[in-house]
Symmetry: none
Subunit: 233 residues, 2 copies
């Protein structure tokens, strides 16, 4: 099995690094983020099993982030905060967090709580259930974020893994134009080097699956000299 991935989010880089070192010692894979928006981006693109989240952060605070995360995925969240007032604890937990640790904290305790949450998360039967269907829709296209499946006018379309990632990326921001290079970077997660053509071939294959007439695409359009986009409808 792959290592468990833990996302650590705090604007204080020293704290992030300290936690990361301990988590890695415990055998976890650690991904770092320094504000809430970064965190959300990582969560939606990567496979994360647990999140440690600071409350006080620039751009998007921890509690709001908790809400947004819960909309999308049902993974354990441990809130981290300097505030030790009870009201904050209650607020954090009722917003969907699974645990709450106040700074300064004992690192070993945090590790124990991480282990505890993951143990529960991995048990059979405690299956991910998102409360409501989470769908990205645009025109006849409908992408299910939970199952990573696409339907066109209600008809399910079989996409390959790579195709799915590309469609998901474009569907997240209908109307936004993604240069081929950016698509490559975000889908393959490695720097692009002479790969525009690869993206292009995949675009072509996606079109063959979702467009009535791939030569005159209705959904997946090119913007000359810039990139590709899903038509916003």
């Amino acid at each position: 099995m792959e290592k468990q991935r833990v996302l650590v989010v705090d604007d204080d880089r020293e704290i992030v690094n300290a936690i990361a070192i301990n988590l890695r010692n415990e055998g976890y894979e650690v991904i770092k983020a320094y504000d809430g928006l970064q965190a959300l981006d990582i969560i939606s693109t990567q496979n994360i099993q647990l999140i440690i989240l600071d409350v006080m952060m620039p751009k998007l605070d921890g509690l709001s982030a908790t809400l947004k995360i819960r909309e999308e995925k049902n993974i354990p969240i441990i809130i981290l905060s300097a505030k030790s007032e009870d009201t904050d604890k209650i607020l954090g937990l009722s917003m969907g967090a699974d645990d709450y640790v106040t700074k300064p904290f004992n690192t070993m305790e945090l590790m124990a709580r991480v282990k505890s949450q993951l143990r529960r998360y991995l048990r059979l039967g405690d299956v991910n259930v998102t409360n409501k269907a989470n769908l990205l829709q645009s025109g006849g296209l409908c992408f299910d974020l939970e199952n990573h499946t696409l339907t066109v006018d209600g008809e399910p379309v079989r996409l390959t893994a790579t195709e799915t990632k590309i469609v998901e990326l474009l569907m997240r921001f209908p109307g936004r134009i993604f240069p081929a290079e950016e698509i490559y970077q975000r889908v393959w997660e490695e720097p692009a080097y002479k790969v525009e053509n690869t993206v292009m071939v995949h675009i072509r294959r996606i079109r063959e699956k979702i467009e009535i007439n791939p030569k005159e695409p209705k959904y997946l359009k090119v913007v000359w000299g810039i990139g590709y986009k899903i038509e916003k409808i």
Copy 2:
């Protein structure tokens, strides 16, 4: 839906009563116990959704009780203790508890933690309620959650323990794609390396039992690069 049942265990009757009153205010049903042995007895005979457990108790202390409970049932445990030393927290959590609250505690915080644990624990239950006969059905497949048995077009199929767990997992969410890795985590409940093949072989054996033509599966399908699913019908 029925009320949730919470078991409160502490040798200090005042504390038990105080917690009970608050829990009842929140709409829970409360069962009381005053030592660990009583608690174990209640757990094995009654349907309990969550336990609040004191560490210092006569006959059988909270931490030992936690271990025993875990052997038997997989319900959330919140440890309650006067000791606030970090070492105790770690011990409690690593023994299988899901949360740890130190006395004196804020009642509202305790309520919030109860709610938080139940929310996670019950996500699954909500799904069960919709399938009220306790049958999971999809096409010709029908899985009985009570007896853990599967029928194909009415014909009972003999599955082994592992096969049953896999089928149950997939049948709970027809159409949802489970990566082999996730199947392993949820069914075996342990981390492991290089186990995709193990899952795969089990999938193959299940197919031999439920599919007319295992080479062209009708029910248990693979989604390339992602995982396996039961066809949603």
